[in-house]
């Protein structure tokens, strides 16, 4: 029932094509003890809890005798807290640290210190922009293809006559959101198909429900002809949809972006957020764990072209990150676009 987007997968196949043909997939064997930490941007966000569930699933599957700790800072203390926790990981000489980075390049010195202490640093969800201090990034979907999908959703919502769109993002320095917005801007500018979609503003709700809600209302006031609010964050899209519902603006302004089916189902059914997209965070946590465990136990070297089998999810290949020079990634993909036809089934 899910509408699969295969762009990310196609890109991966094209990039890794030659090495894929000969490389034997490495099976990750369990049983070796390795202490690992899963560090989200901050605590209290459902998708990060789901990533933890996936990591715990892999942890049990691989019978890792070490510990897997899910640990994060409070939202107000995210940057300083992440730096503190990465530093602590180095002190503890952890085998692997799995980080969704919210501190931009400010995390690099502490991440490099962790690497120097022998800890494998695997980022997921949000990478270290410069790549310094990072062994590998587990990319949920190809960042360029997120731009295409968001542009497509916007186009179908403004219709053939075109219209105005504004972006409601998370924090101004979230590396992942910024990359997706840039990718969307590029698609809008380069492909004549999207000429009718006019991006009027980008605002930030700091991934807090109340701030995002107020930013969404401010957008509607500022741009009376606004037709789409595109929120590439699960917090922002829900807050924006609620704001439009509360103000009875749902027919006029549509909300879209990246959301969780369980949080968005009522807004999608009542038309406030007619379509949105997301990948499975549980899978992301699962795949991240397999890659990090492989690196930490020496079964993977982390070289470009290396292919490994991540349990139930199948084979993945390490490749150069097209968005960041000198950085390596594993591309998870694909992702799902949710509409009133499939959102109910996915929300359960």
């Amino acid at each position: 029932m899910k509408t699969k987007h295969v762009l990310g997968l196609t890109a991966a196949l094209m990039l890794g094509g030659t090495s894929l043909a000969y490389a034997e997939a490495i099976k990750i064997n369990g049983g070796t003890a390795a202490d690992m930490v899963l560090l989200p941007k901050f605590l209290g966000i459902l998708v990060f809890d789901q990533a933890n569930e996936g990591a715990q699933e892999a942890h049990a599957e691989l019978a890792n005798g070490g510990t897997l700790t899910f640990q994060g800072p409070t939202p107000e203390n995210s940057v300083a807290g992440q730096i503190e926790m990465v530093t602590t990981a180095a002190t503890q000489k952890l085998a692997a640290l799995m980080l969704s980075n919210n501190a931009g390049d400010q995390i690099s010195p502490s991440a490099q210190a962790a690497q120097a202490a022998g800890t494998k640093v695997v980022t997921w969800d949000s990478p270290i922009p410069s790549g310094a201090g990072e062994d590998l990034f587990i990319s949920q979907v190809d960042f360029g293809s997120i731009g295409v999908v968001m542009a497509d959703m916007a186009l179908s919502m403004v219709g053939a006559d075109g219209g105005e769109m504004a972006v409601l993002s998370a924090t101004p320095d979230a590396a992942n959101q910024n990359a997706w917005i840039d990718a969307m801007k590029k698609v809008l500018a380069e492909d004549a198909k999207y000429a009718g979609v006019k991006l009027v503003d980008v605002v930030y709700g700091d991934d807090q429900a109340e701030v995002s809600y107020n930013r969404a209302l401010a957008l509607v006031d500022k741009y009376p002809n606004l037709e789409v609010i595109m929120a590439p964050t699960t917090v922002g899209i829900q807050a924006a949809a609620k704001a439009m519902q509360d103000e009875n603006l749902c027919g006029k302004v549509g909300v879209s972006g990246l959301g969780l089916p369980s949080e968005m189902v009522s807004y999608t059914l009542n038309g406030c957020a007619p379509q949105f997209a997301l990948w499975d965070f549980r899978d992301l946590g699962y795949l991240t764990y397999y890659a990090a465990y492989g690196l930490a136990t020496g079964q993977l070297t982390g070289e470009i072209g290396e292919t490994f089998t991540a349990g139930r999810m199948g084979d993945y290949t390490i490749e150069a990150d097209p968005g960041r020079a000198n950085a390596k990634r594993v591309l998870m993909g694909p992702f799902t676009v949710y509409t009133k036809d499939n959102v109910e089934a996915a929300s359960k």
């Binding site: 000489k93 400010q106 010195p109």
Partner: protein
């Protein structure tokens, strides 16, 4: 001796020893040199600012703008660096910005006569706004290697520059507060500003010096932060002022002024740092860490009252 042990500092010292012993017992990594240095480094900006905040609060004032001043100085550094200003000159200008910002606070408080709570709440917002305007929604990095190294590597053996600065600043400020007329005046003005003025003391000038020092040290802390993490963004130092004030109050400095010591502040610094570090090594999450520090602060307000109450009953 007994009086000393019963004092607030004695209680803090006992608390510190308990936490320190527990950490050493519970986690094998705690007593390593690297961890002991990290313990200070991770909060070095806050503990440096806490030393000057001790003067501010003993003087019966408050400075809420220090976190934002940190951000302003760090962002000004990043912005000027991108414009091609030599880094050495950037540092001097940033420190001057700190002095100027502190002077603005001091002028509004002493010459216009506004309460410091209101003035520095205003500059908390204003300085932060300026910082965000300067770097907009991006991060600035790629500072010169010597600048990053100063923040991240050891200068004297494994001891980094910022920790040396903290120790030197503590010694200097201790002498000023305990042994100089400036220190005595800080207590006198803090206890009763009107009496001090009747006695012919220029309280305005005194407060001005303290606020300028507060701004200067906050700017210095901003530069230390930029060097330590090797990058700046608009949110540098966001919310730090509350952690700094928490430490100072925990150290026994009275929020009404006139009472407190730098030794108390130092003990409170060590308690908070050891507590955070120990909880971090035991993988205790952020929410719980914040909660424990909060309980500690409330206890620090309640316990002296209970003791005072007992004394009143006895009399």
């Amino acid at each position: 001796m007994m009086a000393r042990l019963k004092s607030w500092e004695g209680l803090l010292l006992a608390t510190l020893l308990v936490i320190f012993t527990f950490n050493a017992w519970a986690t094998p990594e705690f007593l390593t040199v690297g961890n002991q240095i990290n313990l200070f480094q991770l909060s070095i900006e806050k503990i440096i600012m806490a030393l000057v905040m001790t003067f501010v609060i003993i003087n019966a004032e408050i400075d809420l703008s220090i976190g934002s001043m940190m951000g302003l100085a760090a962002c000004a550094f990043g912005w000027m660096f991108i414009q091609g200003v030599p880094p050495g000159l950037c540092i001097v200008i940033c420190l001057a910005i700190g002095l100027l910002g502190g002077a603005l606070n001091g002028w509004l408080i002493t010459s216009i006569g506004l309460p410091s709570l209101v003035v520095t709440l205003g500059t908390l917002i204003g300085f932060r706004g300026l910082a965000r305007v300067m770097v907009e929604d991006r991060g600035i990095n790629d500072f010169p290697d010597w600048f990053d190294a100063l923040g991240q590597q050891g200068l004297l053996g494994p001891v980094p520059f910022a920790l040396i600065a903290f120790v030197v600043l503590f010694v200097v400020l201790y002498i000023v507060l305990e042994r100089s007329s400036f220190g005595r005046l800080t207590y006198v003005i803090g206890s009763n500003k009107d009496v001090a003025e009747y006695a012919g003391i220029n309280t305005g000038r005194h407060k001005m010096v303290i606020f300028m020092a507060s701004g200067l040290i906050a700017a210095f802390a901003g530069l230390l932060f930029a060097a330590r993490v090797g990058a700046v963004r608009g949110d540098v130092g966001n919310g730090f002022e509350l952690d700094v004030i928490t430490i100072v109050l925990l150290g026994g400095v009275s929020i009404f002024g006139g009472k407190g010591t730098l030794v108390g502040t130092l003990l409170a610094i060590l308690i908070v740092l050891n507590l955070r570090n120990g909880m971090g090594l035991l993988d205790i999450t952020g929410h719980l860490q914040t909660g424990v520090i909060g309980i500690l602060l409330i206890a620090s307000v309640i316990i002296p009252r209970i003791r005072l109450g007992r004394r009143a009953e006895a009399a």
